[in-house]
Structure formats: C-alpha cells, structure tokens
C-alpha cells in the first residue's frame, strides 16, 4: 500500500481551503452589489461585515490549523500529528461553541504564532527540520513569512478588541517582507 504523504495532503488541504475562501470573496462581491451595501447605514454595513467574518472564520481557522500542522510536521511523526490535529480541532470547536468565533480564531492565532516562533528559533539554531524547501535561506524565509502572516491575521482580529496595533502590524509586515525576499 502506498504510504500517505502528510506534506502533500496538507498542501492539498491548504489549496482547497484557499480556493473556497476565494469563492467566498467572489460571492461577497456580488452580494455587496446586489444588496447595494455601498449606500446603506454604517450599522447595516457592520452587520454585513460581521456576517461575512463569521462565514470566513471556519475557512481561516482551517487554514491556520493546516499551517499549525505544517509546523510540528517538521518536528513530529504523523501519529503525533494526527493526535495534535484532533486536539487543536476540538479546542477550536469548543471555544467556538461556548465563546464565539472571534475568540476561537484569536486562540488559534496565538497558538499558531507560538508554533511559528518555535520553528523560527529552531531554524535559526541550525537544527535539521523537515521542510519542503531546501537550504537554510529558504527555510528561514518560509518561517519568517508564515510567522508574519499569522501576526498580520492577529492584527486584523485584534482590531475588534484593542483597536489598531501599529507595532504588531509593522512587525508582521517586516517579517513577511524579509520572508518573501529570503524564501
């Protein structure tokens, strides 16, 4: 029997999730036009944004989960990975049900950023990790890029709690830029 390639599976899952999110974006555009949301009161607009955020949250959560699994995939065996995936999924679902999507997403983002930082530190320390890309520069770039993207998502979600955090935004942007250049 052919062995399941975890990396490939995660990549395909990421591709499907990103495609689904793209379709949601296209749908939202047509809905925006159809409902003439450009000319409604700010209250109606906020309600629409909240509804769209709620629809997008499971997909973003799924992407974060895939990303979070990509990270220990560099450290752990697939058996532990499955266990971790189950645990994280349950944690996400639990917070979602009892405390709402925003807090669930925020928790997942915080866990993801910790994972990403650990990987970044391990890459910096020169430890051999299981990456798809080859070379120290590319591995460092990939770690920085993913950490930056998670921190950017955190900036967006935190807008609803703390307002705009410029230091977090600029940190995320710098990491993304550095990562893109290096990868």
């Amino acid at each position: 029997m052919r062995r399941f390639n975890y990396d490939f599976g995660l990549t395909i899952a990421a591709v499907i999730l990103m495609f689904s999110l793209s379709l949601l974006c296209i749908g939202s555009m047509f809905y925006f036009k159809w409902a003439d949301l450009a000319h409604v009161s700010p209250m109606v607009k906020v309600a629409y944004q909240e509804r769209m955020n709620q629809l997008a949250a499971p997909l973003v959560g799924g992407l974060l989960l895939v990303l979070a699994l990509c990270i220990p995939n560099r450290l752990l065996s697939s058996r532990w990975l499955n266990l971790l995936a189950g645990l994280m999924g349950a944690l996400l679902a639990g917070i979602w049900i009892f405390r709402g999507w925003r807090l669930a997403l925020l928790s997942l983002l915080l866990v993801s950023s910790v994972f990403q930082m650990v990987v970044l530190l391990l890459v910096l320390s020169g430890r051999k990790l299981n990456f798809r890309c080859e070379g120290y520069r590319a591995k460092l770039g990939s770690s920085l890029l993913h950490l930056g993207l998670v921190l950017f998502c955190l900036t967006v979600v935190l807008l609803g709690y703390t307002g705009f955090l410029p230091w977090l935004f600029w940190l995320a942007t710098s990491l993304v830029f550095l990562g893109l250049v290096l990868v």
Binding site: T11, F32, Q49, F164, V176
Partner: protein
C-alpha cells in the same frame, strides 16, 4: 511670480499628441514585425521585432517623464494658498474638527499637491511601462517562439489600449474637476469651505505616503503577473523546465509586490476610511487574487508529481484572470475603490 500651469498644460498636450501618434506607428510596426516573426524563418524578423519593442519601452519612458513634468507643474503652480485673514480660522477648524490628524496650515509654506504618476488614466501608462520592461527582460531569457510572440502580442494590445484610453489629451480629468473652483474668484467663506474639502483629500489621498507605495507595488505586480501568465500559458503548449523557471522568476517578485502592496494598503485604509471597509468588493477580490496566487506557490512544490504540471500551469492562468477581475472590480462593483 507663480509657475504658468496653462503653458505647461499646453506643452504636455502637444508633446503627448506626438507621443500618441508615435505610439500608433509603433503598434503598427509591432504587429507587422510580429507577423513577420511568427510566419517566417528569417532571423532578421526577431531582430527587427526586438528593436521595435525597445523603441516602445523608450517611448513609454518618455511619456512617463512627460507625466512627471505635468505633475511638477501642478506642484509649483497650484498651492492651496489662503488669504492671510483665513489662516487662523482654518487652523482653529483643523484643530477642533480634524482632531489633530490633519497638519496645521502654514502660511509661509502653503500645502501643495504632490501627485504620483499612477493616478486616474495615467495608471495604465505606468502599468504598461512596467510590463514592457519586464517583457524585454523575459524575451532575452527565453527562445521559444510561442512565448516571445505572446509576450509581444500582449505588449501591442496594451499599447492599443493606451491609445484608446489616451491619458495625453485630457490629463487627470477628475483631479482638475476637483481643483478647478480653487482657481476661480471666490469669497472668503467660499474659499474656506473649499479648502476644508480639498485639504483632507490632499492629505489622505493625493499626498499620502502610502500613495507612493500601495498603488505602484500593485501595478508592478500586475505587470509581473502578465509575464508570469505568458510563461504558464507556454507551459501548457511546451513542456520544458525553462518555462517553469521563467514563470517562477516573475511570479516571485510579482507576489512580493502584491503582498507588500496589499499589506501597506491596510493602515492607509484605516487612516483614510476608518474601520468600516472590510469586505468591500475590491478588498474581497484582492484577497481572492492573493489566495489564488498563494495556491500556485504551494502547488508548485509538487510540480514533478503526475498531473501537477498542467494543474500549476492552469493555476497561473487563473491567477491572471483573477488579476483582470480584481482590476475590473473598481469599475464594475460599488465600494470605496470605485472609479466613477
């Protein structure tokens, strides 16, 4: 004595008219030499075609310089200068109504419009110039007839669009419509009211620092994406690794520019529009485009697997369609980015 904007405008229109005529000739020459190149084995055909592309790049560069000249003239000739009596009143208004976000008016250095060369219809000139330079670079690195011909066919199409859109005869129509009342005789109160409308627009839009990074990065990414699209299209026809390398060589800077352009638009949007713009159609379509582009990079990691070559090539083509759709969204969907 102030700078004569009328004279600068006339110079711009006259030279712009010449550029337009020359562009028309260039389009004819490009199409002619392209047909020669595609249908003949004559080696001179590519040389002549390549020279025509080079002349197109130089012409587009000159046109951009001309735009720069007009913008410099606007900067020098159109200060938002207030009568001395109005300055204290306006500064009081800026302090109370502007919540300190708008800088105070300084009579010794009145605010001036610092316009970048990617406003209104000029953005096509900037975008297509970027593409022309990248197409030349791409043509040098690849020898497949299909790829070269598609690259220059797209350049010809872009020059045709530029001729049709024509940013030379009637430049910056919306800007001049906004600013025109300022140049007319007005009462003190009318001038104060107009200043209160124009000054925030100047600070948050025309002169914003983000204006100098957000749009150009996106247009440069569009240009790189077009070359990337040609490479992906060629990958479907010719299965050679050089084409995948070419696609990646342009996808990478295109993705960097797109990601950074989008990220840098975030604080600008918060500053200019407040928090109420999330899920705006243009934002949604930009995110969609970025996601499709990201799937390309992820899928490309498995290019050697069965069926992935075609899948990755098609992803590149979908990326380009997503880009066209995102660009068109400003014209087709209502929202903060809508072009009326």
């Amino acid at each position: 004595m102030g700078f004569d904007l009328g004279h600068a405008f006339q110079v711009y229109q006259n030279l712009g008219g010449l550029v337009r005529i020359f562009l028309g000739i260039l389009v004819a020459a490009l199409i002619g030499t392209l047909v020669w190149y595609v249908f003949s084995e004559d080696e001179r055909a590519w040389r002549w075609h390549y020279r025509t592309i080079l002349v197109s790049v130089v012409t587009l560069g000159f046109a951009l310089l001309l735009v720069g000249y007009l913008h410099l003239a606007i900067y020098l000739a159109l200060p938002l200068e207030l009568p001395p009596k109005l300055a204290p009143m306006i500064n009081h208004w800026l302090k109370t109504m502007g919540h300190g976000v708008l800088p105070p008016y300084r009579p010794e250095a009145p605010p001036r419009f610092l316009l970048p060369p990617w406003l209104e219809r000029e953005k096509f000139l900037f975008w297509f110039s970027g593409y022309a330079v990248m197409a030349i670079w791409a043509c040098r690195g690849v020898s497949f007839r299909f790829t070269r011909a598609t690259l220059s066919a797209l350049l010809s199409l872009q020059l045709l669009i530029l001729l049709f859109i024509n940013p030379f005869t009637d430049p910056l129509p919306r800007f001049f419509e906004e600013i025109r009342p300022w140049t007319m005789p007005l009462s003190l109160m009318e001038r104060a009211r107009l200043f209160a409308r124009l000054y925030p627009r100047m600070v948050f839009f025309y002169n914003a620092h983000y204006m100098w990074v957000h749009p150009p990065l996106l247009f440069l990414s569009y240009a790189a994406l077009t070359v990337f699209f040609v490479a992906c299209l060629s990958m479907l026809v010719i299965k050679r690794p050089e084409l995948d390398q070419m696609a990646y060589r342009f996808a990478r800077p295109g993705y960097i520019a797109l990601t950074m352009g989008m990220l840098l638009g975030f604080p600008w949007a918060l500053k200019a529009w407040g928090p109420n713009w999330w899920w705006d159609p243009k934002i949604a379509s930009s995110i969609m485009m970025w996601l499709v582009f990201s799937t390309y990079f992820h899928a490309r990691l498995y290019l050697t697997r069965r069926g992935m070559w075609s899948f990755v090539s098609w992803l590149g083509i979908i990326c380009f369609v997503a880009m066209l759709y995102t660009f068109a969204a400003s014209y087709l969907f209502p929202g903060e980015h809508t072009v009326h």
